[in-house]
Amino acid sequence: MTGSIGLLAAAIAIGLGALGAGIGNGLIVSKTVEGIARQPELRGALQTTMFIGVALVEALPIIGVVVAFIVMNQ
C-alpha cells in the first residue's frame, strides 16, 4: 500500500508526462495542419510524418505513466 507521498509522486509523474505529450502533440499537429493548408497536395506525406512524430513523442510519457503505476502499486 502506497503512502500519500507515493500517490502524490505518481500523480505528478503522470501529470507531467501528459503535459509533455500534450504540448508535443499540439506542436506536431499544428505544424501539420499549417503544412496541409499551404500545400494540400502533400497531405498524405505530412500525415504520415505526423503519425510517426505523435507515436514517438508519446512513447516516453507512456513509459512515465507505466513506471508511476508500477511504483504506486509496489
Binding site: A55, V65, I70
Partner: protein, 123 residues
C-alpha cells in the same frame, strides 16, 4: 493515407512474427514468463498503434470536411499501457514485469528501424 496503413501493416507482420517467437520461447525455454511478458507488451504496443491509425483516419476526414479535428486518443493509449502492466502485476508468475514494459516499447523501436530502412532504400 496509404503510407500510414502500409506502415501499420508492416507493424502487424512484425508483431505476428514476434508473437510466434514468444510462443516458441514460452513453450521450449525455461524463461517462459519473460517471453510471455514480451508478447503481452508487444500486443498492447501494437494496439496503441492501431488506436493511433484509427484516430489519424478520423483526423484526416475531419480536416477534409472542414470540421473540428477529433482528439488523438492519447488517454486511451496511456490506459492501454497501464492495462498491460496491470495484467503483468496481477499475474507475476506468468508475466515478467520488466519484459512487459520492454515489449510495450518494441513496436516503437520497430517503427524507427522500419523508417530508417525505408529511407536507406529510397537513397
Amino acid at each position: 493515407m496509404e503510407d500510414l496503413h502500409y506502415i501499420f501493416a508492416k507493424q502487424k507482420k512484425v508483431l505476428f512474427f514476434l508473437l510466434a517467437l514468444c510462443v516458441l520461447g514460452w513453450a521450449f525455454t525455461p524463461y517462459a514468463s519473460i517471453f510471455a511478458g514480451i508478447g503481452l507488451g508487444a500486443f498492447f504496443g501494437t494496439y496503441n498503434f492501431w488506436i493511433l491509425v484509427r484516430r489519424m483516419d478520423k483526423f484526416d476526414h475531419s480536416i477534409s470536411e472542414g470540421r473540428k479535428a477529433s482528439s488523438l486518443g492519447t488517454a486511451l493509449r496511456f490506459g492501454s499501457g497501464v492495462a498491460a502492466v496491470a495484467i503483468a502485476m496481477s499475474l507475476p508468475e506468468h508475466f515478467h514485469l520488466i519484459s512487459t514494459v520492454i515489449g510495450l516499447m518494441l513496436p516503437y523501436i520497430f517503427l524507427v528501424i522500419e523508417r530508417i530502412v525505408h529511407l536507406a532504400k529510397q537513397h
